[in-house]
């Protein structure tokens, strides 16, 4: 346990700074991303860990990064949450966090991920509720939201959950403008993408 937390602290202490340095040197990221309108982002109503109803339409006029995760995920979910933590730091530094750009993490496993479990998970990643909320609903009410985002889930033999592992970037008008693969998510690129959307002319 001690070792695990120490390792976590080590990764944590390195990651945000290195990501910000990377932002200054574009490298493999694209400084002028093509962010065509892909589709209308399906509307949803879910609840945050305090029980407050959260609708996608609440974020009209702001840019949203929407990730589908589950807290017992042994694969890429912890990594994406760690990368979103780095992104949170970047958005704060640019003055976008909360007021102009928000992060949402939706659990695909609400049965296991109770509000308390999600809240603890959010704390572990240093999520600041001012701009990064973790959302859930009952399994029955979660299902249509997952379906709308083509985010099917499949129970694997060892009890793990298989799912498409995508992250959605939604613009101020509620359009999906980018879809990222969790496996290749680059938080520096996501920051550039969000910055570009925020630079677009107001509707």
């Amino acid at each position: 346990m001690k070792y695990g937390l120490a390792l976590l602290a080590l990764v944590w202490s390195i990651a945000p700074d290195s990501a910000l340095r990377a932002a200054e040197v574009p490298g493999p990221v694209s400084v002028n991303p093509n962010l065509s309108v892909i589709a209308r982002a399906p509307a949803f109503t879910l609840h945050d860990t305090l029980g407050n109803a959260v609708q996608l339409s609440d974020y009209q006029g702001r840019v949203v990064l929407l990730a589908f995760i589950f807290t017992t995920c042994p694969g890429v979910c912890p990594l994406i949450s760690q990368q979103m933590s780095v992104l949170q730091t970047g958005l704060k530094q640019e003055g976008f966090f909360g007021s102009k750009a928000n992060l949402l993490s939706v659990t695909v496993d609400p049965k296991t991920d109770t509000a308390a479990v999600l809240a603890e998970y959010a704390r572990t990643y240093g999520a600041d509720a001012a701009g990064w909320r973790f959302l859930r609903e009952s399994p029955e009410k979660t299902k249509p939201v997952l379906k709308a985002y083509d985010e099917w889930t499949k129970l694997l033999p060892k009890g793990e959950i298989d799912h498409p592992a995508r992250v959605y970037l939604i613009d101020q008008k509620g359009n999906i403008r980018e879809i990222y693969s969790l496996a290749f998510f680059n938080e520096t690129q996501a920051l550039i993408d969000m910055r570009k959307l925020l630079g677009e002319a107001a509707p």
């Binding site: 937390l5 002028n32 093509n34 065509s36 807290t71 990594l79 949450s81 572990t124 592992a165 879809i179």
Partner: protein, 409 residues
Amino acid sequence: MKSAHGKIGLQIALVLALTAAFPAVQLTAETCLSPYIKGLKAPEKIMYLWTLPAAANSGPDYLAVIDVNLASASYGKILKKIHVGSSGNEAHHMGFSDDRTKIWAASLNSNRLFIFDVSDPMQPKLMKTIDNVAKTTGLSGPHTPYAIPGRILVSMASGPDGTGPGGIAEFTNDGEFVASHKTANHPYETVIKPEFNRMITSSWFPQKTFMSAPDKWDPKEWSNPNTMLVWDLKARTVIQTLSGDPINLAARWMLKPGAKYGYNISTAGNSIWMFRMEDDGKFSYRKAADTGAGCGPADLRQSPDDKYLYLTCFQGSEVQAWDISDPDNIKLHDTIQGVVQPNMMHVTFDGHRLYFTNSAISTIDYSPRYSMQLIQIGPDGRMKLDPNFKIDFAKAPDGPARPHDMLLN
């Protein structure tokens, strides 16, 4: 709560440590597919084969569903055919969606795209036909569907009337048009290396040309069939044009995370070319080997360990294995000869089996002995034709058919 915190913290720490040690590519597709596709990590049970009747307009094109489960009583048999309801499409290449629940099947001639639902891998269903892609996209001659997250990129050979330069058409997984990205050549195949934000597309001919008999091909109708385009993937812009031998069809980027090089074939040059991202970010492009006169390279596949390439000689009726363990000095390693007109290949996730078909396009095929066969690949990369697996499409009960591209589940 304290113990929950500790448990999650430990779990995260271990995963992050493991992820750092074993990069993301583990989570992604098997060899020769888009890296964004959910990978198959077990022996294949079912094959989907995109097929067209041998005689023009003699029936609808179809997806043949074939049992490739060694333990099955119907191993090596066609279980069913899913007809697409139209003929003359010229069934050609296919691609999975990123989540592996859909197959996009492209038709070279009719500009139709077919989407099959394979969410139940054993029960594929035709879920959508996109008609008149040329009108929607301003492009024609759909060749290779290639998955990116939530979307499909389709390389399109030409302008809307089947002539002139083409581009890349972008759709959602469900078939809604997103955008067209025009090029100065005739895109054939796509490879992406996500960690570098780079895409490379190869080139061939406009639709009107390749749907004609070769003796009617008019050089005035095409441009730059010897070019490979390097794209800033995120920007969807071409940042470099590489020039080599003509008709550079299949291209493969090495699979090792961070690998900066790959290879492609040139059909007219009878050659293999190597592209490499140099330290300044620009790509070099050079001939890596000659395949031998009369080969007519048609497809190129790679082993999962980046040690071997497999190449079909469509004209030379040969399958070649190349040892690429020394990337700058690749060597012919093994051959299987006497397999008439071999074209498309598909290497399994473990690199042990290579399925191949032997029809290219109805305008180009020179032998009616259509079949799908299997090559067993040893740990040393050497090949052996499997005598126990052959589907003879020349003698198909409902008429001869041309088998082309394959996918496995």
